[in-house]
């Protein structure tokens, strides 16, 4: 047990050193990624959390998102093509993202009824789908990976059978 605590503590210390190093050196994103978790908890940095968007073609974009900012805003600030037809007012479902790792999905608060109502209508809905405008950056989400669903493929698969009345 003691060993475990010591190990954990060690990790924290290393992280802290790495972080300080990263700040001092400026912007080496790799090193920065490791350290930011503790740094944010300390509340001494607003450099945000690390978020990866994986686009329709599977290409990755790594960005930093300030705590408190929605993934939709973050995507737009970084020129990532995430649609947001209703500009975050929970009325369109175009900002649909898939959280690629269940562990991160579980760190999110449950979707409200209103978010679920819009998710109902999202294309390519999956078990870990969320609306990008409703996912707000917080320290625990550091490292989260979000996939933007490949709409065209889903669209073709879904097909469109007119509903009988």
């Amino acid at each position: 047990m003691e060993d475990f605590v010591a190990f954990d503590f060690l990790l924290l210390e290393i992280d802290f050193i790495v972080t300080t190093f990263a700040i001092g050196k400026g912007n080496s994103p790799k090193i920065f990624d490791v350290g930011v978790w503790y740094f944010c908890l300390n509340g001494t940095s607003d450099s945000g959390i690390s978020v990866t968007f994986v686009d329709k073609d599977g290409e990755e974009q790594h960005i930093r998102v300030p705590v408190g900012m929605s993934m939709l805003e973050a995507a737009h600030e970084n020129d990532i093509e995430l649609e947001g037809a209703c500009e975050g007012s929970l009325a369109c479902s175009t900002c649909h993202v898939i959280v690629m790792d269940v562990e991160y999905y579980n760190k999110l608060e449950d979707p409200t009824d209103e978010e679920n109502d819009m998710l109902d209508l999202a294309f390519g809905l999956s078990e870990t789908s969320r609306l990008g405008c409703q996912v707000i950056a917080k320290p625990e989400l550091d490292g989260i990976r979000l996939a933007i669903p490949a709409a065209t493929r889903n669209f073709a698969v879904d097909g469109y059978v007119p509903k009988p009345h």
Partner: protein
């Protein structure tokens, strides 16, 4: 063999010359609803040299976002901001007041542009084909929605809401729920929306207390979404009535719900609402969900000749199995509901224009991923060169605004593939007049175009009129008013 050679040559042409900016690809999109704007946006992204013109028969852009989406859904209309940015793109123009089929024909447009994308929606209605359907007091939901949303062609509907206490709405989809909500919602809450002023006045004087939402099938098959249902169940001072026996699920229903998240959540909401204790008539208004009834005929009023006084329904049971496959069969038992207003919400229908292949059965343009096919045989090789389709005209009248985004992605992908494969004559090999040619032709015909900046004049006038009444806008809703504001 010869074909292959031509195809190869075309391919070479388009590849080597498609980036030639002096002869840009000229694209015309017909219809400025979500399908039209999303198509324009995706085209401009995929083909940076392209010139995209969007024509619309109205002086106002945005299609059903302006004239369909309910006035109390302002958040849904925010997408107008995105569409406006597209219209302001330097290679894009909006040309309002231009009607395909009368201002200009399809064959003329195809001569002027390399690519024509039809996205003109669905401006007609399915009909029931039962006796009494033409009685006064019976309208399609489309007409009623146009009326309360200030569409210039809906202005004169003038539905009588004062001589009856009951309205029957046929259908239980989202549009049905929209019109029911507008009839039931306290008018004080509607007063601060962009609802047409004459509609607000008529609703303020409305004597309608009971609204029946009637479906052929059961709660497990209701075509609405949870969002709309939650909203209508939450209206203040309305008693909700749902027969609990109707909510019982058969094994086939259970199967259906298991595979459909939307239907499952809708059924849950209905069950919760049914279980809620009723306020025993304390509320002024009532909403009745009526399941397992199919309209058989409309009854004529005895004291108001030519006017509807009720609907004669046949009770139904479900037959057939497999998710979505259960159909309503009449039982031979009948029941009437008295009412002075009937709104048919059984589906919009597209109308063809001259020279356009059309599938009358499905009410859509036959297409393969947005490429217009020459006939309805389904053979994907019989293509109408340079002609594409998107939105409700392509898929039929279902889906939300966002559905058209994916629909446009598919159509634009098909266009790009066709250019890449040389299936489409390249703009460099055959320059086309595009906008200039269109403007010339319309000028010769005395068609007064409403540009996007003309629309902005309408827009600011509407906002100005609205601001004094605490409304986001007060819609101009006659052709005259619209033209006057645009010309100012």
């Amino acid at each position: 063999m010869q074909n292959v050679v031509i195809l190869q040559a075309r391919k070479w042409f388009s590849r080597s010359l498609s980036s030639f900016s002096s002869n840009p690809l000229k694209v015309c999109v017909v219809g400025s609803g979500p399908a039209g704007f999303y198509t324009a946006e995706k085209m401009l992204k995929a083909h940076q040299q392209a010139q995209v013109d969007i024509i619309d028969r109205l002086p106002t852009p945005f299609g059903l976002v302006r004239s369909g989406v309910a006035p109390d859904h302002p958040e849904t209309k925010i997408v107008i901001n995105q569409f406006s940015r597209v219209a302001q793109h330097e290679q894009c123009s909006f040309l309002g007041n231009v009607t395909l089929g009368s201002s200009i024909s399809l064959s003329e447009l195809r001569k002027l542009y390399h690519v024509v994308v039809l996205a003109y929606g669905a401006e007609s209605d399915r009909s029931l084909g039962i006796p009494g359907e033409s009685l006064k007091g019976i309208y399609s939901a489309r007409e009623f929605v146009w009326w309360y949303n200030g569409h210039p062609d809906g202005r004169n509907l003038d539905p009588d809401l004062k001589n009856t206490d009951a309205a029957v709405i046929l259908g239980q989809g989202n549009v049905a729920l929209d019109v029911a909500r507008i009839l039931l919602r306290p008018t004080a809450e509607l007063a601060t929306t962009d609802i047409a002023n004459y509609a607000l006045a008529a609703l303020e004087e409305s004597s309608i207390r009971k609204v029946y939402l009637v479906g052929r099938r059961g709660p497990a098959q209701a075509a609405c979404t949870a969002k709309e249902l939650r909203e209508i169940l939450g209206i203040r001072n309305v008693d909700i009535s749902i027969q609990e026996v109707d909510l019982r699920l058969t094994p086939a229903d259970e199967e259906e719900l298991k595979s459909n998240r939307i239907k499952r959540r809708v059924h849950e909401l209905l069950s919760k609402a049914a279980a809620k204790p009723r306020t025993a008539g304390l509320n002024q208004r009532e909403l009745h969900f009526v399941f397992f009834r199919k309209p058989d005929s409309f009854q004529e009023s005895e004291d108001r000749t030519g006017h509807v006084s009720g609907v004669h329904f046949e009770k139904t049971v479900l037959k057939g199995d497999g998710p979505g496959k259960q159909i309503a069969i009449g039982t031979g038992e009948f029941e009437d509901i008295k009412c002075g207003l009937v709104l048919k919400s059984i589906g919009y229908k597209s109308v063809p224009v001259d020279g356009l292949p059309f599938d009358h059965k499905k009410g859509i343009v036959p297409n393969f991923r947005g490429r217009v096919l020459s006939d309805t045989s389904g053979d994907p090789t019989l293509l109408e060169e340079g002609l594409y389709v998107c939105g409700w005209l392509k898929r039929g009248p279902t889906g939300i605004v966002a559905t058209n985004l994916h629909c446009a992605e598919e159509t634009v992908l098909s266009i790009s593939e066709d250019i890449e494969k040389g299936m489409l004559i390249s703009s460099a090999a055959l320059p086309k007049p595009g906008r200039e040619g269109l403007l010339q032709l319309l000028q010769d015909r005395d068609v007064r175009i409403v540009s996007f900046s003309d629309w902005e004049k309408i827009d600011s006038e509407e906002k100005r009129l609205g601001s004094s009444r605490n409304k986001p806008r007060q819609k101009l809703s006659t052709w005259d008013e619209l033209h006057k504001a645009a010309l100012e």
